[in-house]
């Protein structure tokens, strides 16, 4: 155990680059992100190492490969009340498992099209390719989908009128 006072006193001073601030009173979306271990998760790490700031709305679930993601995971996430879902994997060609992301891409486009078709906010499901070297790109994606989800408001998917 450590002497807590000591650690809490310390102030971290870092030049604040443009950050989407979270004001406490208004509602904030909760977003679940499935990241592949080899590229996107590494990209998120790089964002961290490079101290790139992005909104704190995302909860990351690490999976070996975007090919691991069953569309059911995404639907279930929406059903249990996550306000949005992000699935991110290696760029086409970079898949650590050779072709996982190609199969994933087909599954995702089916899901994406269907949700659109039945009239669900597409904004709630997001797919992206982020490489291990793209810390900034990862942050951008998070900023983007957080903004989008804020506009969409709380997830009432499969429930009331869209």
């Amino acid at each position: 155990m450590v002497d807590t006072k000591k650690t809490e006193e310390v102030q971290v001073i870092i030049p604040a680059n443009e950050i989407d601030k979270v004001s406490d009173e208004k509602w904030e979306p909760k977003i679940i992100a499935f990241l592949c271990n080899w590229c996107s998760y590494a990209g998120a790490d790089l964002a961290g190492v490079s101290r790139i700031q992005y909104p704190p709305n995302v909860r990351v679930v690490r999976v070996p490969c975007s090919g691991r993601i069953n569309p059911l995971f995404i639907l279930k996430s929406l059903q249990v009340g996550w306000d949005a879902v992000l699935v991110s994997g290696c760029h086409p060609g970079d898949c650590h498992y050779i072709s996982g992301n190609y199969y994933a891409r087909r599954k995702f486009s089916v899901l994406d099209d269907l949700l659109e078709f039945i009239g669900i906010d597409k904004g709630r499901i997001n797919f992206s390719w982020v490489s291990a070297a793209e810390g900034e790109a990862f942050a951008k994606v998070i900023r983007k989908i957080t903004k989008k989800t804020r506009q969409l408001g709380p997830n009432t998917i499969f429930k009331e009128d869209q």
């Binding site: 650690t7 809490e8 310390v10 704190p56």
Partner: protein, 1002 residues
């Protein structure tokens, strides 16, 4: 003399890393010495890699981590060689470890010291394009992730010591000397970029918008100075017109760089393409002499660069660059191919600098006592391309000659093979197998979860309310214990974790700290030492994903941390111990193909004492090389080949089947079973044997030309026929005018690839002719002369001996006209114009193509892929050039792609080394994270089989359910997510576990 089971690898670039990993996996202790403070070399600086545009860091970082944590590899960073004694099998090497001024044992790589360092100095990783600190780590993903102080920049203010919670800063630290005892040395010091500053004409260093290609590489990189934006240094504008100048410090006698640097043509094309992708306003122009796209799929890349990306190629060498002082634009003067003088203005100029020998080359050769060649690269020979002049000291990568990443990786493994062969008797003598307590059986026991939350100095604690997180964690399901540590990863905490597990008899452990990608193995190791199965571990990343990225939102960051911990807990409640399956490894090898590659590989295995079965479909060994008399370097191929065949015949570990073909192959890595069928030789029929490894060396064939009256007119021959005349018979007195035409059956629509060897072949023969009959006239009609690397010198020699080279455009190929009995070649050259050449002998430089039939039979049999050109397709173009996605099968020689004899030998040895990483083990252990199938749910639709990239899934035709071979499964989960009947699940990431995590929304 006693042989030492350890190897010293010098240089932490991709070549050094690859050879180190190979040897460490083959049962040798490896000392990997790096002169800077982190491994990764130049590849870590690259943005993308040609010809696939793979993200360099994406493919490299797993190797970095693996090398960094391999228990047989010891990294010595910031070190240099002092003294070497002894000989092959037993060297004593004295090393100087320069002080880092930060204790790497204690340093956790948290980086606060660097943040706080007031010094604004130069960042070398970003090629001086951005500023760095005195306390620094080479680059964010650096391995090992330890900081050090650059004394030259340090002002000794003492801030870093103040902020370092781990008390790792030690200004007093001194350099220390260590002595190593190794059996072999592998040289992989890499190269230095040519410094264009001295070349006044380009104004590098004078004009800010003239940058070197490696600087441009950083500019392109997402982690570079402009985070991926293409901007020009002078004013940060997007440069619309960018000129790439090739052969800066290559093919240039005046600056004593007569050789070709091999890689510039491709990396320039790549940089142009990526620049275009990053900023579509950018219009690149490339100035080059020849376009040397000689490698596998390189030409396709160049064609795409031109057609899809509109990249403009101009064949010329820039004579002068001047700057427009107002705009900082650059004015280029050059002579177009038609001779006209042109002046153009560009916004930015990139100098494609060549590869130099490393500046410590001479020093190295002195300390180790091996020879350098005239360019100060390491001296090697055609038939032993990875051996130095000194026994026991091997070389790989750009230090042997300029080469690209795959060739470096190939040679890295090749040099490792030599070490394997030299030291096989001492294998496993110095590697320590770790002893663990027997695993505690947690079956059926309710989860007792322990959570360790890390302050990471102030990295987490400074933002996230760590005590709050701990209190929260204690309230969660089945959490028996929670505590916080200053550094959970520090050595003392590991001991604490082990004690805590025992004291509270925990059976699941969670660490909330940084990223599992670097630290999971460490903690898994720790809980294993406490008797827990390493998979009973979960991690939540509250540093890289909370404190570091939400620095100004402590409340939100804390909330997020709690959520992440809660998610980890709910998964931890379900996780089960996973077992790594153990498979027996059969130590025999099957080599398919008895050419130079096949033979070299077979001998390589046999000499290590592995039983090797060599299967050759023809009646004699030697393959295509039988027709070749000498290499371009002048080495005697015939003699070498007969020695090699003799070696093969005399080795009792080597069983040769001539006139034999594969009938069936079944099984998987370590457990193959092969049945032969006769191809003439009856006794091979139904000959069956078991083996653990397969080497594919099916070679290539000479293209049989249909063009230019070949086989219709005796005066039209191929290079091989011509070589026969030159070396075996006499050139007919009447034959005085000889014309050669290049690229017959290569670089056309049917065979779009370059056959790589024909240029050298033509030049070799023309030099030979000129040596025999200086009076005879010889003209070579070519599209590009591709004498890459050190072969360039023979191109020059040929020219100096009076061989005439005339370029033609692929759209206007030379025409052969037959007037009465005279042959006349009509050629329209871009630089000389229309010519009619009468001739006595026409020599066609015919290309190489794969043995289409046998490859197409073999590929499905082995379940390995072919590329569009029907050459075998390796697992990864860049970093696994001899492996296949299917484990235990390797490729070498022409089966992979057209290549010269020395390159084939290199690749054959590489295959030996890659295979040795398996053969050196009695059993192979597979990952615990693998897919499993519940056959009661499987309806045998076979979708999973389609999606498995590793052929790990097969159909049980009896029961109509699938079987997963965990030996081949890599645990990606593509099968599981495809299975509609949820019959397949992925251990470690089961549906149930993910479901629970998903349910943790709040």
């Amino acid at each position: 003399m006693e042989k030492i089971g350890a190897v010293l690898t010098i240089g932490g670039g991709i070549a050094g890393i690859q050879s180190a990993l190979d040897l460490a996996e083959s049962g040798f202790k490896v000392y990997l010495i790096e002169k800077t403070t982190g491994i990764g070399g130049v590849m870590a600086q690259l943005d993308k890699t040609f010809p696939t545009n793979d993200c360099s860091m994406c493919i490299l970082s797993p190797k970095l981590v693996e090398a960094g944590r391999h228990q047989n590899i010891e990294l010595l960073i910031n070190a240099k060689i002092l003294k070497v004694e002894g000989r092959a099998g037993n060297f004593k090497v004295k090393i100087l470890k320069k002080a880092l001024f930060i204790n790497s044992e204690k340093c956790t790589g948290c980086g606060v010291c660097a943040e706080k360092c007031p010094v604004n100095s130069i960042d070398f990783y970003n090629e001086k394009l951005s500023r760095g600190k005195a306390t620094f780590v080479k680059y964010p993903q650096s391995v090992p992730l330890v900081f050090s102080i650059n004394q030259d920049n340090c002002i000794g203010c003492g801030v870093c010591e103040g902020v370092c919670k781990a008390n790792a800063v030690e200004y007093s630290q001194k350099d220390e000397e260590v002595e190593l005892n190794v059996g072999a040395v592998i040289l992989a010091p890499g190269f230095d970029e040519f410094d264009p500053a001295p070349l006044k004409v380009y104004g590098y260093g004078k004009y800010r918008n003239v940058v070197s290609s490696i600087e441009f590489e950083r500019i392109l990189s997402a982690s570079g100075p402009y985070s991926g934006m293409v901007l020009r240094p002078s004013d940060g504008d997007i440069p619309e017109k960018v000129a790439f100048l090739q052969c800066i410090g290559s093919r240039d006698i005046h600056h004593s760089k007569p050789y070709c640097s091999s890689v510039c043509c491709m990396y320039t094309a790549k940089e142009a393409v990526i620049a275009k992708e990053h900023q579509k306003q950018v219009n690149p122009t490339i100035f080059s002499m020849d376009i040397r796209a000689y490698g596998k799929d390189f030409d396709k890349y160049i064609i795409r660069a031109q057609d899809e990306y509109g990249i403009r190629y101009i064949r010329s060498r820039i004579s002068l660059i001047e700057e427009n002082p107002k705009t900082n634009n650059l004015i280029l003067k050059y002579e177009a191919e038609d001779g006209s003088l042109i002046t153009e203005e560009y916004n930015m100029v990139v100098l494609s600098v060549g590869l130099n020998p490393p500046d410590d080359a001479i020093e190295l050769s002195k300390t180790f006592g091996f020879e350098l060649n005239e360019f100060n690269f390491c001296k090697t020979s055609t038939f032993e391309p990875s051996k130095t002049s000194k026994p026991g000291i091997f070389v790989c990568g750009a230090f042997a000659a300029p080469k690209d990443i795959p060739e470096s990786v190939i040679q890295a493994s090749a040099s490792a093979a030599h070490a394997n062969i030299l030291l096989h008797s001492a294998r496993n003598s110095l590697v320590t197998k770790k002893e663990y307590p027997t695993e505690i059986d947690v079956a059926g026991k309710p989860p007792r979860i322990g959570i360790f939350v890390c302050h990471c100095g102030i990295n987490i604690g400074g933002v996230v309310d760590v005590p709050g997180v701990v209190d929260y964690a204690e309230t969660l399901e089945n959490v028996e214990y929670a505590e916080r540590n200053l550094y959970t990863c520090s050595a003392d905490t590991q001991i604490k974790i082990v004690e805590t597990i025992k004291e509270h008899n925990l059976n699941r452990v969670i660490v909330a700290s940084c990223t599992p990608r670097t630290h999971e193995p460490l903690f898994q190791e720790t809980i294993r030492e406490a008797g827990l199965n390493p998979y009973l571990f979960e991690m939540s990343n509250i540093r890289d994903q909370c404190s570091w990225v939400h620095m100004h939102e402590p409340v939100a960051a804390t909330e997020k941390s709690k959520d992440l911990v809660r998610m980890a807990v709910s998964k931890a409640n379900k996780i089960e111990p996973l077992q790594r399956t153990i498979l027996d490894m059969n130590h025999n090898v099957l080599v398919i193909g008895g050419g130079i590659s096949g033979l070299t590989a077979s001998v390589g295995f046999a000499e290590q004492g592995f039983m090797t079965y060599l299967v050759e479909k023809t009646a004699e060994l030697g393959g295509f090389a039988k027709n070749i008399h000498a290499s371009i370097e002048g080495s005697n191929v015939k003699e070498f080949l007969s020695n090699l065949i003799e070696k093969a015949n005399n080795n009792e570990n080597l069983k040769i089947f001539l006139e034999a073909e594969i009938d069936t192959i079944e099984g998987y890595v370590g457990n193959f079973k092969t049945k032969l069928k006769s191809k003439g030789n009856k006794e091979n029929k139904n000959n069956t044997f078991e083996h653990g490894i397969i080497i594919v060396a099916t070679g290539g064939e000479e293209y049989k030309p249909t063009e230019y009256l070949y086989s219709k007119d005796p005066r039209v021959v191929t290079q091989i026929d011509f070589e026969k005349m030159l070396f075996e018979s006499e050139i007919n007195k009447k034959v005085n005018k000889i014309v050669m035409i290049q690229c017959i059956g290569s670089r056309n629509d049917k065979n779009p690839y370059c056959s790589r060897v024909c240029c050298a072949e033509a030049i070799k023969n023309s030099i030979k002719l000129k040596d025999l009959h200086p009076e005879k006239e010889i003209i070579v009609l070519y599209r590009d002369i591709r004498t890459y690397g050190l072969k360039e010198q023979y191109y020059r020699e040929a020219r100096s001996k009076g061989v005439i080279f005339i370029r033609f455009d692929e759209k206007l190929p030379p025409e052969l006209i037959k007037e009465e009995e005279n042959l006349i070649i009509h050629v329209d050259s871009p630089n000389i114009g229309k010519l009619d050449l009468d001739l006595d002998l026409l020599v066609l430089s015919v290309g190489i193509h794969p043995p289409y039939e046998s490859n197409e039979i073999l590929a499905p049999m082995l379940k390995i892929p072919l590329n569009d050109d029907k050459f075998f397709l390796e697992a990864h173009v860049k970093l696994r050039p001899v492996d296949f996605a299917t484990e235990g099968i390797f490729v070498c020689g022409l089966a992979h792609s057209p290549r010269s004899i020395d390159e084939s030998i290199m690749q054959a040895n590489a295959a030996v080394s890659r295979a040795s990483t398996y053969l050196s083990k009695d059993e192979i252990e597979t990952e615990g994270i693998v897919a499993t199938v519940d056959i009661s749910k499987c309806s045998g639709c076979g979708l999973c089989i389609e999606t498995c990239a590793y052929n790990a899934i097969t159909m049980d035709e009896e029961k109509m359910v699938v079987i997963i071979n965990s030996a081949l499964c890599k645990g990606c989960g593509a099968c599981s997510s495809s299975c509609r009947g949820s019959a397949i699940d992925l251990l470690g990431f089961t549906n149930e576990e993910i479901y629970l995590v998903i349910n943790e929304v709040k």
